[in-house]
């Protein structure tokens, strides 16, 4: 069983929901990312999604675009991100880490070389925004065979036929994008999400994480009620941007954001 499956099964058996933060690796500086990861674990997160910065983040709004620019300016590369995961693993071998990003940096490194290095570093899953399963017929099996969970997106526009097919290519969890749009927009409609996620649960046995538009304890709880986990991104990345000059203040601010989300999610447990 993969580390991701293990964590999600334990949570499910406890009737609890996963809190999954997203931050861009290397923002505000590559030397700070591992510390921020530990801070988030201390604040009660279950899985960490680590963004691999890309020069052309087509699916991201301004907040994560700027984070990618900052990270790239500080010399962040895919290999450096893998080194961050290695370092994180020196003192944490329980919290799953999912790399999230765009295909080209992985393509440039080479799929086999990447898969080997990612496993070596202690990465658990890979989510590539611009790689639908149709184009992943070689990559997804390669990742799965090496022990990396391939994680794919589902969207409000995804047909039932595709939901089944995509889930068939995925392991760990599927990531439901809560609205049509880019990261950081504030368009989430909780009732719509609830209906869609309930429907997705009928079509796949995989846990469903929901991301895009979750900004506070209230939206986290509302979405947590209907899903297996919530993914929180832009609000954390924005906090990093505003506190980049003072890392200790940044860690406190992240903790202050995540603690109420954790509490709100746990208060759902019956």
């Amino acid at each position: 069983m993969s580390r991701i499956e293990g964590v999600l099964q334990t949570l499910r058996s406890q009737g609890r929901k996963a809190l999954i933060p997203f931050i861009t690796a290397g923002d505000p500086h590559p030397d700070e990312t591992v510390g921020l990861m530990h801070t988030m674990v201390d604040a009660g997160v279950d899985i960490i999604e680590l963004g691999v910065p890309f020069s052309d983040p087509m699916a991201d709004g301004p907040v994560i675009q700027l984070a990618s620019e900052r990270a790239l300016k500080q010399g962040t590369t895919l290999r450096r991100v893998l080194a961050m995961v290695s370092e994180f693993r020196q003192s944490n071998d329980t919290t799953p880490v999912v790399l999230m990003g765009y295909l080209n940096p992985i393509e440039a490194m080479g799929y086999e070389a990447f898969a080997d290095a990612a496993i070596e570093a202690g990465v658990d899953g890979v989510l590539t925004v611009d790689l639908p399963p149709e184009e992943a017929d070689k990559v997804a099996p390669l990742f799965a065979q090496r022990g990396l969970d391939p994680i794919f997106l589902l969207a409000p526009t995804t047909t039932d036929e595709r939901i089944r097919a995509i889930s068939g290519h995925s392991s760990g969890y599927v990531y439901y994008v809560s609205f049509n749009g880019v990261t950081g927009a504030a368009r989430i409609n909780v009732e719509e999400v609830a209906a869609r996620v309930a429907h997705i649960h009928e079509l796949t046995a995989l846990p469903v994480g929901v991301g895009f538009g979750i900004r506070d304890a209230e939206t986290a709880a509302a979405v947590g009620q209907v899903s297996d986990g919530v993914i929180v991104g832009s609000v954390l990345v924005d906090t990093i941007a505003r506190n980049q000059a003072d890392i200790e203040a940044l860690k406190l601010a992240l903790t202050d954001l995540l603690n109420p989300m954790r509490e709100a999610l746990d208060s759902l447990a019956s």
Binding site: P57, M58, G61, L78, P132, A155, V177
Partner: protein
């Protein structure tokens, strides 16, 4: 060339997943997949629909002014002292470039799909103007995304788009040129996918765009083939076209792909020179990667980050290229070369003085290479340059280089 291309091979491409050999495909976020599959299905149906094709042909004739002439550049030929140089006059199209062939086709598709809101990216502004034009004609809401740097250097076209009723969004992110405009258009599309049609301006993007843009532009090559036979009794020996995303070049090349005697030359923007790294020539100096929905030759660094580009010509200032060109390069059917900013500027002046035709700076790249090529060929041979657009939009750039304020 390793093996002879046949009609069967060509009609089998792109394959059902939009692949031209190792290139092309559909690399987009899940939100867009359903829309792209619908577009593909509808396009493949309409491609065979006589009514759709008749409407398209009628618009090209009455609104665009096709066929565009194939003109013998007699004085240029004499000055060059080699092969006969002919110009396919896409600059004479309504709105002044080949871009309108494609926007007519895609706007027609949008109407058939019932979409009322149109978005487009633009570099030089020619595609933006051509999109704004068809939107005005059909009463569609039009939003054009343009890199902030291009908004400055192509200010005339920005104003034209505004006069045509389009909203122009200046894009400040990244390198503030065409690739960033395309990123922003994709972001708008993902947000408004339910009611919006994205009119992509070149043969790049996810499947089926490289296919349908090529089909809409192939009228250039079909006319050239017919006109060449009528006027000279034979096919040209060489075709020369500039390559930004590659739509005017593929439109010219495609109907000649199985004519082995016809040499194909795609001319990329060499900027300050390939050796300087400051250029926009992915086929000459890049390697395969994935950007904007397809796998193709790209300018990128060793870590897979897309590299900055440079060209004096905004319409060529793009780090990628249509996937069909990548395939044509790898099978050896087409030759991809580059000319520098300075060579293109010189060709702009030469064509203006010798023929009284002011080419777009994009097209001037093709002129520059063709003149060099013609000099190496026999007098009874024939070159056709795809004169993709006219140079009015570039007068400011030229004047600035001359130190003149207009």
């Amino acid at each position: 060339m390793s093996e002879k291309l046949t009609e069967e091979m060509l009609t089998a491409l792109p394959d059902s997943r939009g692949h031209f050999g190792a290139f092309g495909g559909r690399f987009v976020s899940e939100t867009l997949m359903d829309s792209l599959m619908t577009l593909e299905r509808e396009y493949l149906r309409l491609k065979k629909d006589p009514e759709f094709q008749a409407t398209f042909d009628q618009d090209l004739a009455d609104y665009v002014g096709r066929p565009s002439p194939l003109y013998f550049a007699e004085r240029l030929t004499r000055e060059t002292g080699g092969a006969q140089i002919w110009l396919k006059r896409e600059d004479l199209n309504h709105t002044g470039a080949h871009k309108v062939n494609n926007t007519i086709g895609q706007a027609l598709l949008a109407s058939f799909l019932g979409k009322k809101r149109i978005i487009a990216e633009t570099g030089a502004g020619q595609h933006g103007v051509a999109t704004a034009t068809v939107c005005a004609r059909l009463g569609l809401e039009c939003h054009v995304f343009m890199g902030a740097e291009d908004v400055q250097r192509q200010s005339l076209n920005v104003y034209r788009m505004k006069l045509l009723g389009a909203e122009v969004h200046s894009v400040e992110s990244g390198s503030r040129t065409l690739k960033d405009a395309m990123n922003e258009a994709m972001r708008d599309w993902v947000t408004n996918v339910d009611d919006t049609f994205y009119i992509i301006g070149t043969v790049a993007g996810p499947h089926p765009y490289p296919l349908l843009v090529r089909d809409f532009q192939a009228v250039i090559g079909r006319e050239t083939r017919r006109q060449s036979l009528e006027k000279t009794g034979k096919l040209p020996d060489a075709l020369v076209a500039c390559v930004g995303g590659g739509s005017n070049a593929i439109g010219m090349f495609y109907p000649f792909l199985t004519d082995e005697s016809v040499q194909l030359y795609g001319v990329e923007a060499g900027g300050h020179g390939i050796g300087t790294g400051e250029h926009a020539a992915p086929l000459c100096a890049g390697r395969p990667g994935v950007l904007h929905g397809n796998r193709t030759y790209l300018m990128e660094d060793e870590h897979g980050q897309i590299a900055g580009t440079h060209s004096v010509s905004a319409g060529l200032d793009y780090p990628g290229v249509g996937p069909e060109h990548s395939w044509l390069k790898d099978i050896g059917r087409a030759n991809y070369v580059s000319v520098t900013d300075d060579e293109a500027l010189e060709a702009f002046r030469m064509l203006t003085l010798v023929e009284g035709i002011m080419p777009a700076l994009e097209s001037a790249h093709a002129v520059a290479y063709a003149v060099k090529l013609a000099a190496t060929m026999d007098k009874d041979q024939m070159i056709v340059i795809n004169l993709s657009g006219r140079g009015d939009k570039d007068i400011h750039t030229i004047a600035q280089l001359d130190g003149i304020e207009l």
